[in-house]
């Protein structure tokens, strides 16, 4: 019997070491630990890898430290458009949503789509509508907004005006 393993990432646009405050450092590490523990607790109880990755990603979606779910980046119109997917290695089944605006935890809907396998990928309003029709309560788009992401959008649009977009930091681009 294999020994369960869970690995996660919270994005490669990490805050530069020189700009990382002790508070942000602690918050990020705490969120990573909680995500790992949430998923691994399921694995230790004999749950599936699908259950584990869903739980781990959901913790990070709900934490404003990361660019997913609450705390997601804003598009140039000031709107959150969320993408998510899940794939089950045992069956090859997969599910995904793109451009969703009202799904609180997109990974949960991706998982539900993997369960039906057709459709596999839904976009925009169709993704939101399918989620709501399958019992996922919608949230307003502003549910995902944080001050940091509003500041980042303002900074990026200003960089476009000034022609300095190429010098944007990973944090400005991806949070």
């Amino acid at each position: 019997m294999p020994t369960p393993v869970l690995a996660i990432h919270g994005g490669c646009g990490a805050i530069p070491r020189a700009s990382l405050t002790p508070e942000t450092n602690a918050a990020a590490r705490d969120a990573l630990r909680r995500a790992l523990q949430a998923g691994y607790a399921l694995l230790q109880d004999g749950a599936s890898a699908v259950d584990a990755v869903t739980a781990a990603v959901q913790v990070m979606e709900d934490d404003p430290v990361f660019n997913a779910g609450t705390g997601a980046a804003l598009n140039r119109d000031g709107v959150h458009e969320l993408d998510a997917s899940l794939m089950d290695g045992a069956t090859g089944r997969a599910g995904a949503v793109a451009g969703a605006r009202r799904i609180r935890n997109p990974v949960q809907v991706a998982r539900a789509l993997a369960g039906v396998s057709d459709p596999l990928l839904l976009i925009g309003d169709a993704a939101d509508a399918w989620a709501e029709a399958h019992g996922f309560a919608p949230v307003p788009n502003t549910h995902f907004t944080t001050r940091a992401r509003q500041d980042a959008l303002r900074a990026m649009l200003e960089r476009e005006t000034l022609g300095t977009t190429a010098r944007a930091t990973e944090f400005e681009k991806h949070g």
Partner: protein, 132 residues
């Protein structure tokens, strides 16, 4: 972007990815995260992976399926395949991933200044941001 990969006690693999894209992206832009075979992949014969970084490049090189194919057809180790994908194929663009193979080996390569990351086994919980 956030992602997770797992190997369960039954020997099955899974991967999931979720993201808000990037700041000031054009409305309607779709990145690699929801594209199966680009930003997310899982196959019990090889590995599970979740990517983070410049999504357009992940799509163009079919990064997730590329990693899988290196293990399945070329017999590469997960470590070798993932490092080559991030540091050679995706060199010059911000990219990272987490992956686990069917034996339970974990890799967390990235080519940016830092990547929020971690892994957990029965006796280890490790989290990191930069090269620490």
């Amino acid at each position: 972007t956030v992602g997770a990969v797992a190997l369960d006690a039954h020997g099955h693999l899974a991967a999931a990815t979720s993201t808000g894209g990037y700041t000031a992206k054009p409305p309607g832009r779709v990145g690699d995260s929801p594209i199966i075979g680009a930003g997310t992949w899982a196959d019990d014969r090889t590995c599970a992976m979740s990517g983070t970084g410049k999504g357009e490049l992940f799509i163009r090189v079919a990064a997730g399926h590329d990693l899988h194919a290196r293990l399945l057809y070329a017999g590469q180790t997960l470590e070798h395949a993932a490092q080559d994908l991030i540091h050679r194929t995706l060199q010059g663009v911000g990219a990272g991933l987490c992956a686990v193979d069917r034996h339970g080996n974990v890799v967390l390569p990235y080519n940016t200044e830092g990547m929020y990351r971690g892994f957990i086994t029965a006796d280890t919980l490790h989290v990191a941001i930069h090269e620490d």
